[in-house]
Symmetry: C2
Subunit: 252 residues, 2 copies
């Protein structure tokens, strides 16, 4: 928790396939929504390739700065799956074959527990397992770091075993006013005036345009629902005074 009472997290997306453009990441977004619902703000994201030096440096930067760090990717059985090694190195903790994962692998594969599959049983000493309700081996937690799969369906399944571990602050409330037919050039001044009047809130403008028309979604975010409501009311008034004609609240 920082000196504003905010509880923060960072996401480290690991994988050459994201940086090459082969794969569109969706894990950062899923984790952002997940931690937000638990009163934790995602404060930074990073994407690095399958490179030990890069992964260790990024993980150490993030885990020491934020309350929580999540990694996704690189926990499979192939040679480029080096996340467990990197996390162990970052924490200075040796890897060992976790008996619970070895038991799962043996139950699943019997005599076919190849050396590659055994790689997936390795976790750093001091880690606890994160259940994988979908397919394959579990993730793990060590300190404030959660090590998750890269495949989105598996990653999201693992989040189900993380909520109870997070000590979040107050959940952020977001309300959205949708303006149609007025551009940001008209919106900006009243928006800024209200933002200055409510310095503890975050006010953002997200323009849209297309064949169906143009306008902007104005989002008011904060931890105190009454303060957010007051700012939405003030914004409504300020926009109307500035000549914005079409304006209504939406769920978004």
């Amino acid at each position: 928790m920082d000196n504003t009472g905010r509880v923060t997290a960072a996401v480290l997306i690991i994988g050459d396939e994201i940086l090459s453009g082969r794969t569109q990441d969706t894990n950062l977004n899923a984790i952002a929504r997940f931690v937000g619902a638990h009163g934790v703000d995602l404060a930074e994201g990073r994407v690095v390739g399958d490179d030990e030096t890069e992964i260790v440096a990024a993980l150490n930067a993030l885990r020491t700065r934020y309350d929580y760090a999540f990694t996704t990717g690189g926990i499979g059985p192939t040679h480029d799956d080096i996340t467990a090694d990197c996390v162990a190195k970052a924490f200075g903790a040796p890897l060992y074959e976790h008996p619970e994962i070895m038991a799962m692998l043996t139950a699943r594969w019997g005599a076919e527990v190849t050396p590659a599959r055994r790689r997936m049983a390795r976790v750093p000493e001091g880690a606890t397992l994160i259940k994988n309700p979908v397919q394959g081996p579990p993730g793990f937690q060590i300190g404030n770091v959660f090590v998750l799969a890269g495949v989105p369906a598996i990653m999201r399944g693992m989040l189900e075993d993380i909520g109870w571990r997070l000590k979040g602050g107050a959940v952020v409330v977001a309300r959205t006013l949708r303006v149609e037919g007025s551009g940001e050039g008209v919106i900006a001044a009243p928006l800024e005036a209200v933002a200055k009047a409510y310095p503890k809130l975050s006010l953002g403008s997200y323009p849209f345009f297309g064949p169906e028309g143009y306008g902007s979604n104005l989002v008011v975010r904060g931890r105190d629902p009454e303060e957010v409501a007051a700012a939405v009311q003030a914004l409504n008034t300020a926009l109307t005074d500035a000549g914005v004609a079409k304006l209504y609240e939406v769920d978004a």
Copy 2:
């Protein structure tokens, strides 16, 4: 260009809406594919919020380490659009109102060029403009940094005015072998053996599973098409020897 002849780039995604989970970023992926086609490797990605200290620190870290840095987001007219200010600060260059952008704004808005709209005319001294063929004001380049819009359709339009500015290396060739009905536990050993035999190439395994079956896409990436072809052949042989029955090359 680093000591391996690789030309590198980084992407800095700017915006609270990405970190809150409200918006799914697609710009990193689009830039990754774009620079890859120009022989430039995306080497790192970062996501930060609308915070001057964070943006300046991340931009300085990335622009000094990589050949190119791309930013997306924060160039609109509202109070939370502070990217131009941050880039100016990072470069120690003052902002000024670019006459070409002022002319565009005046042509579009006439007397309605509000102070908010004028904000969009501000670029750091020494910047050159990046054409925006879609809607709104241009982006800009200063040094090795490209400052682009956050709205994906506009961002992609701006990329059309960037290709000619990039001095890339050899374009990476990627070929994909698709394995069906064999898991990574079987694939890992032959894959690792081929990866060790071709240390200049990148070999990755991207598993899939679902109602339609399971398997993995094995991607061989490198700059020398003949070396990539030799590795694909070697991988084909090694997988067949390891008992993989269904295996074919796909475009992916």
